[in-house]
């Protein structure tokens, strides 16, 4: 049969963002794949070298569009680690809550995308509509809908608004009740199961070597989570479980995410229950003149797609020497995709892309 070269993207409804996959197909079967990135490259790392530490804080969240808080948190913790700035206890609790809210909204977005890529168009209408209620809480808390600019070096910018706790707990109840509908519509749907089980398989023995992280890794049965391996913020004071499913296919990844969704709800409830009173940030000395001692650091956290790391080098001046962002999609979207796409069917490409949590802006920064 004739081999055809097919360019998927950058402009295509099935692509998770502005990226392009070059495919060699034989009929419906993919022989070779190559990812092309760079359509969203803004040179963040260069821009941050030109800005002072506090000036870099508003731009880091743009690195990953669907989950900006992860970047804010990582950046803030990296700066705190380098400079020795202390964070008040309450701020840590709020930060953890923000991270879990980010995880929830990211999973809701993912559910919409994942089922939408299989033609289940009711799901995006529901989940993205429900995600908006989370964004309302975000807006109330942080002042921004998508880019929150809330977690900054030294703590968080503003305290919880009055009555936030009640509204947040109500929302958690609502999301929990909605999960039953999602399950019926998506996770137990025959079409979904048929297409998800056995597709996009990552072998368990290769997963670590290929650099797989996060829910995708846990979907192959390997239990690693930065929240447990290296507890940051206040994760060591919370009770939660980290699920694993054997299989390594789209369906086990979906189940991992579903389980984690429920865990996040439980974490937020715990936080709302136990959050201590106190100050919310330690002010940095002077936004224009603040200098950070020379040093290197690598901080990481568990985003909804896996280990999200920041490597940072400071040279003792007001500005960063170098920052390098390691998004999970960098590995998932390029080298992993090139490994697992060959052999699958053409129609599964966007499904696999969604299940890996590929997010172009963080690949090219």
């Amino acid at each position: 049969m004739k081999t055809t070269k097919l360019y998927l993207g950058p402009q295509h409804p099935g692509i998770t963002g502005n990226m392009m996959i070059e495919l060699d197909v034989e009929g419906n079967k993919i022989l070779k794949s190559k990812t092309h990135v760079g359509y969203l490259h803004r040179g963040f790392e260069k821009l941050m070298e030109r800005r002072t530490y506090i000036q870099s804080f508003p731009i880091v969240c743009r690195i990953c569009v669907p989950e900006p808080d992860v970047n804010e948190n990582n950046y803030a913790r990296a700066v705190e680690k380098l400079s020795g700035l202390e964070v008040p206890e309450r701020a840590k609790w709020i930060r953890t809550m923000v991270l879990e809210m980010a995880r929830l909204q990211s999973y809701l977005l993912w559910m919409g995308g994942q089922s939408g890529s299989m033609g289940l168009y009711t799901m995006p209408q529901w989940t993205i509509g429900d995600r908006d209620y989370l964004l309302d809480r975000f807006e109330e808390l942080t002042g921004g809908r998508v880019y929150h600019l809330y977690v900054w070096p030294g703590g968080v910018r503003k305290d919880l608004p009055i009555g936030f706790k009640t509204r947040m707990l109500d929302l958690m109840d609502y999301l929990e009740s909605r999960m039953k509908d999602y399950t019926k519509l998506m996770f137990e749907n025959a079409i979904f199961k048929k297409r998800a089980i056995g597709t996009g398989v990552i072998p368990k023995d290769k997963a670590l070597e290929w650099g797989v992280v996060g829910p995708v890794l846990r979907g192959t049965g390997i239990k690693h989570d930065v929240r447990i391996d290296e507890p940051y913020e206040i994760y060591d004071k919370l009770e939660f479980e980290v699920p694993t499913y054997e299989g390594g296919d789209i369906y086990s990844r979906a189940l991992v995410r579903k389980f984690e969704f429920m865990q996040s709800i439980s974490i937020i409830r715990q936080i709302m229950d136990k959050i201590p009173e106190g100050p919310i940030y330690n002010r940095i000395p002077n936004p224009f003149k603040w200098k950070i001692p020379k040093g290197y650091t690598y901080v990481k956290l568990e985003s909804s797609r896996g280990e999200f790391g920041y490597f940072m080098a400071s040279d003792g001046s007001e500005k960063l020497r170098r920052v390098n962002v390691r998004g999970p999609a960098y590995v998932h979207g390029i080298s992993l995709l090139e490994k697992i796409l060959p052999g699958s069917r053409l129609g599964d490409v966007s499904t696999i892309l969604n299940s890996l949590g590929v997010c172009p802006p963080e690949m090219e920064r």
């Binding site: 502005n18 969203l40 803004r42 030109r50 731009i59 669907p66």
Partner: protein, 193 residues
């Protein structure tokens, strides 16, 4: 920008007024947009198109190919690499076609003003009919931008595509300044609609 020719929209329509009115009405109430999320703004499009804000009630829906699309949303910054694809997509779209620029980045570079890889002024490369304030614009702002565009189409003022046609050399020249490998093979020097 001042050296551009101002197009006269009516001259393009030889049909009578009634037909003219009907086409305008039809055009403004069925805007199909090209599913091309070029920047961060794409993240606010999914809420806008789904149940909460629901832009289908304004007659808007996505289309997979540029040939069927009327509307191109430039959702934020454009890297030079994307710009090439955007121009390509824009030129493939059928007349009449409209462009909406989202947020600061399309106006004067936005927060990437000192970046080496993003363009600063979108209207140097393709004509923009409407700009929406924000970084990113909220869904409400997006909807108001779309409503503004609809009004503009109704008033026959959304003439960016004619401007592009009439000042094609000017736009091409600007585009070539940025896109170094912009040769005759993949980008004809003539407008090929």
């Amino acid at each position: 920008m001042d050296d551009l020719k101002r197009p006269t929209l009516d001259s393009d329509f030889t049909c009578d007024m009634a037909f003219n009115k009907i086409t305008k009405w039809a055009q403004k109430n069925s805007l199909w947009l090209l599913a091309y999320g070029t920047g961060c703004g794409a993240i606010e499009l999914s809420p806008t198109m789904t149940s909460r804000y629901d832009w289908s009630r304004l007659g808007i829906r996505g289309s997979a190919t540029p040939r069927q699309a009327d509307l191109l949303l430039i959702t934020g910054y454009l890297s030079t690499k994307t710009l090439k694809r955007v121009i390509r997509s824009y030129e493939q779209m059928q007349d009449p076609k409209y462009v909406i620029g989202f947020g600061s980045c399309t106006i004067n570079g936005g927060m990437y003003y000192d970046s080496y890889n993003t363009i600063k002024q979108l209207d140097l490369y393709i004509p923009v009919d409407v700009y929406i304030n924000g970084c990113m614009p909220r869904p409400e702002a997006v909807l108001s931008g779309l409503a503004y565009l609809k009004d503009k189409i109704g008033d026959k003022k959304a003439d960016g595509w004619i401007k592009y046609k009439q000042n094609f050399e000017w736009y091409r020249e600007n585009q070539k300044k940025i896109l170094k490998s912009f040769n005759g093979d993949n980008m004809p020097d003539k407008y090929n609609w």
